[in-house]
Symmetry: C3
Subunit: 204 residues, 3 copies
């Protein structure tokens, strides 16, 4: 298994766990938690595949995603007390996840012949839409719409990837540089408590 | 008209009525109620078709679903006082509906060459996602995420269908056995007030 | 650039602004506002394209929509104080937008060989689903489900278009007649404070 596949699976599992934890905070039952876990893990990639017309969508082909997601949800149910303490590990896997999802989304879009800016949008969709759907189905305003540097990290990382791609830098190097830059930006944003401006702020 | 088509149309009508009733509780207007009625009735099958790449999606081809859904919504508007008293009939049709939608979804997925577990997910999508979208657009946490055995009945019924399919049991018999088992499980769940565990329960 | 393209772009920009304004009321950040602006502008056409199987969806092909939407969102951020005063201009562009989106949706559906009533549904999806998604992601019950004559104007306008199409009236004339009728209905509805009935009203 290559590095990107490992990162893809680690990210998928981390997203499934994050969905299951959100669902448990909302006191959803086992089915609700499983639904939200799935939507969080595959929602972004699914929307990207649908927009591109890349069907049947990736996760319903083959076993890998299905088994990883169900296992992650089951582990969260069984080891709930321990998993909620693993915040830093989950944070790391989640950040690896958005990094690798950004790259996979952009690479698919470029294969479909889309322009670089639209490819960046597709990368971003892959990375963040799962979380948006998770919060929408849990009846919350999506977290990433009003807190934290999250999508921004993907946008910067994705732009770096496109630049390296343009200059024909070797793919593996580009991928690692992209993921590391996304992790770095997110860590810096948390350390320095950075957040994006709001319209209302800008007017005061 | 064969038995499956009848069950499909009865279920579609029951779903449209359930959506219209939800919308009326939320004091939506005629358009809002019609929108929610449609989404409830065709939402699950639409998501299934999109994931498979089976487009144009089923309900926009031909007249049947369109006429049935509009009629069901119109009847609900006109005979509202009577229809809300028909709870048991609606319950029966709704349960027939989730049964037949589970089967249709699985059969389509198997035709597309998907694995049995993923086919079960596609059957489940067909059956329950309409209701999830209904509640989401009405700005509620989806009912089936925290109350009642509903999706579980489809999962058990779908598993029975796959087992009978594996042993090459005659299709009509499998279909009837699946629908009856889903009805039975739902009735038993209500009679004995069964519900799925929640994470938080599991920890107490 | 022909008249329909101009109306399409004006409507897209107006929708993006409306989304950004909704997002700012909800105190979303720059990313949240951009996401909602995009979803409002392209959501309806995207759902129509997905239902038809017309992929990659229109807006991810080429630059036009992407640049218009990003510009509209940026202008809203920068000139917020002025733009919120332009209510009548925005209202006009928004109404031109739903008119032209209704027509584009119907024309695409007719090309795909769908029946006239379903084509009307596709036109309506193009026009109103963006606003429905905007409100859903902002965690509100969609505005058009309980206030204002909005979808109704599209339904009447779309029916006029289908009638003129049936009698083989020249296309440009049909398009202008449709858009004008939609504008007229919406203005009359606001002037006379018209709204659709609700089930609960009907029962009192």
């Amino acid at each position: 298994m290559d590095l990107m596949s490992f990162a893809d699976y680690a990210g998928t599992g981390a997203f499934a766990i994050s969905g299951t934890l959100s669902a448990s905070e909302k006191k959803l039952d086992l089915f609700g938690a499983t639904f939200i876990g799935f939507v969080t893990a595959v929602g972004g990639g699914t929307i990207r595949d649908l927009l591109l017309g890349n069907t049947p969508v990736t996760w319903i082909q083959g076993w890998h995603y299905f088994v990883i997601i169900l296992s992650a949800i089951a582990l969260t149910f069984i080891f709930y007390r321990y998993i909620i303490k693993l915040k830093q590990t989950l944070f790391l896997f989640d950040t690896i996840g958005i990094g690798v999802f950004t790259i996979i989304g952009m690479e698919k879009a470029l294969i479909f012949g889309l322009t670089p800016p639209i490819s960046l949008v597709m990368g971003l969709s892959s990375a963040v839409v799962g979380g948006v759907l998770r919060d929408t189905f849990c009846n919350d305003v999506p977290l990433i719409f009003h807190r934290e540097i999250y999508a921004t990290a993907c946008i910067v990382g994705g732009t770096i990837y496109l630049a390296l791609h343009y200059f024909e830098v070797e793919t593996h190097f580009s991928q690692i540089a992209t993921i590391l830059s996304i992790i770095l930006i997110r860590l810096l944003a948390i350390k320095f408590n950075l957040s994006l401006p709001k319209i209302t702020n800008a007017q005061e």
